[in-house]
Subunit: 590 residues, 2 copies
Amino acid sequence: MIMTTVLDKINSPRDVKELSMDEVPVLAQDIRDGILNRVKTIGGHLGPDLGIVEATIAMHYVFDSPIDKFVFDVSHQCYPHKMLTGRKEGFIDKDKLFSITGYTNPQESEHDFFTVGHTSTSVSLATGLAKARDLKNEKYNVIALIGDGSLSGGEAYEGLNNAAVLGSNFIVIVNDNEMSIAENQGGLYKNLELLRETKGKAELNFFKSIGFDYYYVEEGNNVKALIEAFNQVKDINHPIVVHIHTVKGKGIPASEKNKELYHYAMPGWLNEDNEIVLPSSMPETYNSLTADYILKKKKEDSTVIAISPATPGVTGFTQDFRKELGPNYTDVGIAEEHAIAYASGIAKNGGKPILGIMSSFIQRTYDQLSQDLALNNSPATILVCWGAISPMDATHLGIFDIPLISNIPNIVYLAPTNKEEYLSMLNWSVDQTQYPVAIRMPFGEIISTGIIDNTDYSKLNKFKVEEIGDTVAILGLGNFFGLGKQVKNELEKKLGINATLINPRYITGCDEELLESLKQNHKLVITLEDGLLDGGFGEKITRFYGNSEMKVLNFGAKKEFTDRVPLELLYERYHLTKELIVQDIKKCIN
Amino acid sequence: MIMTTVLDKINSPRDVKELSMDEVPVLAQDIRDGILNRVKTIGGHLGPDLGIVEATIAMHYVFDSPIDKFVFDVSHQCYPHKMLTGRKEGFIDKDKLFSITGYTNPQESEHDFFTVGHTSTSVSLATGLAKARDLKNEKYNVIALIGDGSLSGGEAYEGLNNAAVLGSNFIVIVNDNEMSIAENQGGLYKNLELLRETKGKAELNFFKSIGFDYYYVEEGNNVKALIEAFNQVKDINHPIVVHIHTVKGKGIPASEKNKELYHYAMPGWLNEDNEIVLPSSMPETYNSLTADYILKKKKEDSTVIAISPATPGVTGFTQDFRKELGPNYTDVGIAEEHAIAYASGIAKNGGKPILGIMSSFIQRTYDQLSQDLALNNSPATILVCWGAISPMDATHLGIFDIPLISNIPNIVYLAPTNKEEYLSMLNWSVDQTQYPVAIRMPFGEIISTGIIDNTDYSKLNKFKVEEIGDTVAILGLGNFFGLGKQVKNELEKKLGINATLINPRYITGCDEELLESLKQNHKLVITLEDGLLDGGFGEKITRFYGNSEMKVLNFGAKKEFTDRVPLELLYERYHLTKELIVQDIKKCIN
């Protein structure tokens, strides 16, 4: 348990209202200590939370949560709110850090209304709360808190455009810390800059232009100024934006300086001085392979362009990488829909776009994948990272990308199993001009065969038979090819079966010839995929065999939102260990 | 062939540049005649095309297509462009109307760059074209033409925000006809109104606020004024919006008056006077049932609220309906992402939202379905209409909603097969507070059993056995329950098999108990679904039986974008006739 002073007596927002102004700075420091304690130990969002401490205190001082309702965008900035609403133990008590999530969560507290972990949703969700309030003839404040970075997302804009005509109380607090995860991107941010420079007085005002009333607070880390502002807008009868200018990473000099680096930290990243010290040399990863490949390829072809929707770090697009690429790199901001359409346009006009995106965030752009990209057969390359069953929060699961992408016509979705395959697929994709291609980046440590892969991937849907056997055929897709090998060995050991081992490589089609040939001397085909079973790869194999004697077992994740469930438990639950799989096989073929 | 005069000599944009200004009004009339001829005969978009005639002439007069590149948003306004780029026969020659599509299409012409039929995509796609141009060091104009209605969509905003910082030539023509399909919705439109009133001079300017240069043209149906404007911005070295004020439906008095009604017309809707006369009484449809239900329910419960993302017509939300509902109806504009999040927010705060949306457009909101709705278990009701295999354009297929929705955890997706079931499911969904529910509205004429359905749908995934038989079990989902009946009869007639007929009702889960029991005296289960096979309902049934002796045949659509393929051909291709299905069954069980 870390030492706090004023925070000790805060058990609910009511206690915040009792504070003297002298106690407020102490409380702010207590909260910052709590944030640091949590992030150092179990990881989490640092910069956004450090910057919003004063605003959160002021919000709870002025408004009456949970009667007045706060919706926190993406929840990267909800830690102080959690500490003031009965959940401080999740920050200060080392034994209880895991008792609360890093995102808003209605199951934890009546002060949270939604489980949120994707960006740009707060205004829309809050508009719904406000509309229901009006239909019920109730009176209270509905407040969405959204960062400037999240404003580039289409859903935020759709929400603002609609909230503006709600005709009743609605408050949007724009937490302008001059950053997204990386730098902000887009024309909007010039306007925010103008508004900051003019202390909110510029006539040209994005928020007003879409119908909001507007209030500017220059000192966004000054509790008194914030209380005054919030008191001004409390119980207002129409939609208003309160634009507060805060410092991301406030309170830690290193964090105030390198805002991107300190956005998020993993356990152990922060040292005793609250600094992140990056190692001078990093081991090779699939990210570094990707970055190296793109840098090299761009030297050969000036139309190669890397694209990120505001998450360059996840695919290894480091600050150095971005600098070196110059105009051959675009961060589109939090704007996944645009990212795909933009890539499609570049590809259609002869460029070679390579978009890196997290599995969980490609969900934000289904229609663009379908209409802008696939229907137009634009030869862009999409690298899907973090696609795997994982102990992540329910908001960031990487199990839905296969059902999402692989059931769209025309897209070729590839699942490499090692370094050489990955690089070969990547290079094939970038060079070819026939298909939109997505590649599910291998997850975890690099596996290398040491043998260059010269496969011509334009021969679509040719699975690779790694080892020929009989009775049981194992289709180990992507990340789970290794599990497939384990199962093969276990089958040999336990049942004396010399199984066939297949690396499907293509997620989006069946190798019908091969599957047909397996009927000759196999009784059972098993599929292993590191993702959702429903709508996934395995079901297509099963459908292929539906009219035959072949039995098929599909292994993968169940259709559920899991929340920070340890990987071992998930593997157990889904029968994703060699032992459980071989047990299931035994039951099936006996 | 209809009579035209100036259009006769226009075979490519080059010919437009040769015209005298006296010929221009005649050409405009020729184009309008062509639009009317096509729409009267085979249906299509009327109002948007009539309004953009002059602008399109001016665009081709000033710019050099296809070197200069036009991207038409949603393509509702591309008919004049098609007529000026070698495709006039598709409008004036009655034998060739079907030779061209109603949307831009690169396979038809080098003057089209994308197949487009969903809204709000043009700016992003064009930004990609422009970026590739810059990477290749080429010089020409890239022009996106977007309607004011499409500006409410998040993808348009993401595109504008990014295009603004492109740093090179980029022209967005905003065709402001003061309408979406229905009225425009949202705060943005107050600003467009202000800009029109001030002839573009207001300081408060949405486009400038996100970083665009700006040019206003009051007379958007005056070719001379437009030519002057386009000459001003041609070859400009930075992004600019040209805001042109046009009249939707221009040239047809009735159309200029009732802009919503004349947005689109089906074959035969327009009479000789180019007027649409609605019948005084309409037959009962699933739409009218829906509207009647909502109106009645709202009288009992003031928190019932109907929502449409700018397409009220498709679910029967008529002008009268909307008027009667008043504040209990929200058109969010073209903003499907917001629509879902808004519905989630309303449901979370005790309201009863009912959102009507086309199958093809629900694609625009996958992540909101997953994160804002399903993860939060918000009890909203989503009515998915036009979900069916159809002879539609490739841009408007209704076959993807089952894979899209049914593989998201927590959502209950229902497939009613008749009027009574539909109303019962709808009422259950609106009253319950446990699940997000989507209902696939039956497609086509009303089927009525005449017997009120009292099923308690909270017992999830209970399939309904309609007729008990043996050997073959038929799972006829939703629209295809009727086909299931036909197959049952045909099986009796041709093979003497008394098949079991099942109405699954639930798309999102398996009735494992029932499926297990079928093993006793059935050899084969067939699934029939009016949608895509890949990732769909049938595959889940097949997976269930993977480890058993039961054979399974899945019938549904192949994974492909079909483009205006007659339904009979599709049914033939996919084996969706009773004869072909029984043939397949015969092969399988012999």
